[in-house]
Symmetry: C2
């Protein structure tokens, strides 16, 4: 299975639509710039959607789940069975992202790429059965080339379904016990950073637990050191099924012109991998929030990202991105619905 | 007209509902604390609404407008006629807050307390005709005792209408050319600060303009110095019709048990005045955003406030608060709608 599609160019932004939207912002009945980031959001969405009047009514959310071999090293505060249990919870509507998707009227799909226990009876879930989680990356590469290619393609297929359904915004989420370890390891490789700067408590490790997690990541970085200059190898060796799928989804969105709202730490690591695989992908990113996971800031800085929210969230699932969807929607409502100075007969600046 | 009602006690928060909501948060299928500030929002709303399961479906927004005599000193980037022109724009649905209220399904009322030009033909606006704006506070007190009392009562009446309509959240907004000068002067008096720390560009002053604004505020603080220890006198002498109305609304909400979402710089100055007039009012405050107006941080710090958003907004009208309403709604949706570990059969922490 080849991964050549990763390297096809991204769609360009529509600079004419961007300029038209900027000109419109200057005519709306408010002091210029008074809506702050909301003005940037509206004009960036205009550039991505190729229209002076953007909209994010139709939101598509895919949550990718997968287990991690490195969980055997005791790097998570929760048992590995939780991944599969949460897949069921997503499907039954009880998880945070399920509640948020309902509240937002967003389409939600759940893709289980491979978990250690068996949630395969869960309805409304696509089960891809790539394996009982990834391999333990302190022993060998997390994924075989074939597994990684299928995971990337699962992301691409999800973006294609979103596009097909008329989505105006793509949100990716993830679930996988151990995936903050994988994301930190991957980010270390891509940023040439030490694990001390990227590893954090995840779902709730104490200080000693974080220290152990750092050592585990260091062992992995040492083992795979000769292969990490290539971002696709870094992703395959240190990532996970759901991280590769997210990267694939982001790449496909950028290639087909679908705006992306990036969630938190894990998603940002996948976003960074996507940008390294195909530079220009990041033009299609908006960043929802700054996670409580301390390493997130490093990744955001590397992506020159300015996240919209900073609420101390650290849940994943796409939940931080979902929280930011109303900001995008209201930014569009203001952009499209406010009167101009001329329309409202309001005086302009002295 | 007396203002004795300002000093009647605030309603107490429901500590039992707060504890029940906190206990519920600990059982939801997420690592404890992983929803960050959203958990605090839900449990605080529970305490305010006296129920384990809070809701903010019904949102009430009142925008208070009024002109300022101090505008004669050239302290704004926009001409004074804009206040009345914007009252019409609110009524016709073209202003930012009009668009946001529609998008949120919130009730919006507009109270014009007194403007220099005449927007009195504007439909859907209550006109209280307190005067052609306040007096210039570098010459005399901004308001007579009667004007200030009527403005405070206008706020109280607005809160009463909100309560009567079944509102679950109160948002106050304001419009008044010159009101960032009044709010800064009032905050200086209440915080015993210098205008250098509270005055900013408002709707768009340049550096020289801000310097002039600081001198104007200093003249007012000197003129009224002997009367500023009493917060009701500080409000009357340095505030404005719409600022007094906001303070009155906040006080009435706290006395009748209606949660308040505070907007930006002007609203926060009114909120600070309300808390000084009747300590305990601030228990009923949530803070929507951190404004780009530099003095806002000082006021927020004095109120021990942790605003939800920081989007570089500086528009007023209640627009920043409106932007934060979906965060409150989604916090409630998560709190009420997520499955517990037991319901979802998900394993808890190792």
């Amino acid at each position: 299975m080849n991964i050549e599609w990763l390297y096809t160019p991204c769609q360009s932004l529509d600079t004419a639509a961007h300029s038209a939207a900027q000109a419109r912002q200057m005519q709306l009945t408010k002091p210029p710039g008074a809506l702050g980031e909301l003005e940037n959001l509206a004009t960036r969405l205009a550039a991505m959607q190729g229209t002076e009047r953007p909209a994010v009514d139709a939101v598509w959310i895919t949550v990718f789940a997968g287990d991690h071999g490195v969980a055997a090293e005791g790097v998570s505060a929760f048992p590995q069975s939780v991944t599969g249990e949460m897949v069921r919870n997503f499907a039954r509507g009880g998880a945070a992202i399920s509640v948020l998707a309902r509240a937002l009227g967003a389409d939600l799909e759940v893709i289980n790429l491979g978990t250690v226990n068996d949630p395969y009876d869960a309805a409304n879930v696509t089960h891809l059965r790539l394996g009982l989680g990834t391999a333990n990356f302190i022993v060998e590469a997390a994924m075989t080339p074939a597994q990684c290619a299928v995971a990337l393609r699962a992301g691409r297929d999800s973006a294609a379904r979103a596009k097909q359904a008329g989505a105006q915004l793509y949100v990716g989420g993830e679930m996988g016990i151990g995936n903050s370890t994988a994301a930190a390891a991957l980010a270390c490789a891509l940023l040439n950073e030490t694990p001390q700067h990227l590893a954090g408590p995840g779902t709730g490790l104490d200080r000693a637990g974080v220290g152990h997690k750092i050592k585990v990541i260091q062992r992995a970085l040492t083992l795979h050191a000769d292969h990490l200059a290539d971002p696709s190898e870094a992703l395959r060796r240190l990532g996970g099924f759901e991280i590769a799928a997210l990267a694939g989804a982001y790449l496909a969105c950028a290639k087909t012109g679908l705006p992306i709202l990036v969630d938190g730490f894990i998603s940002s690591a996948a976003a960074l991998a996507a940008e390294r695989l195909c530079p220009g992908t990041a033009q299609w990113f908006m960043y929802a929030h700054s996670s409580a996971e301390p390493g997130h800031t490093r990744i955001l800085t590397a992506l020159d990202a300015k996240p919209l929210l900073n609420l101390g969230m650290r849940l994943g699932e796409g939940s931080g991105a979902a929280m930011a969807v109303p900001l995008l929607r209201l930014a569009c409502a203001l952009h499209n619905g406010m009167a101009t100075f001329a329309e409202a007969a309001v005086s302009t600046k002295c």
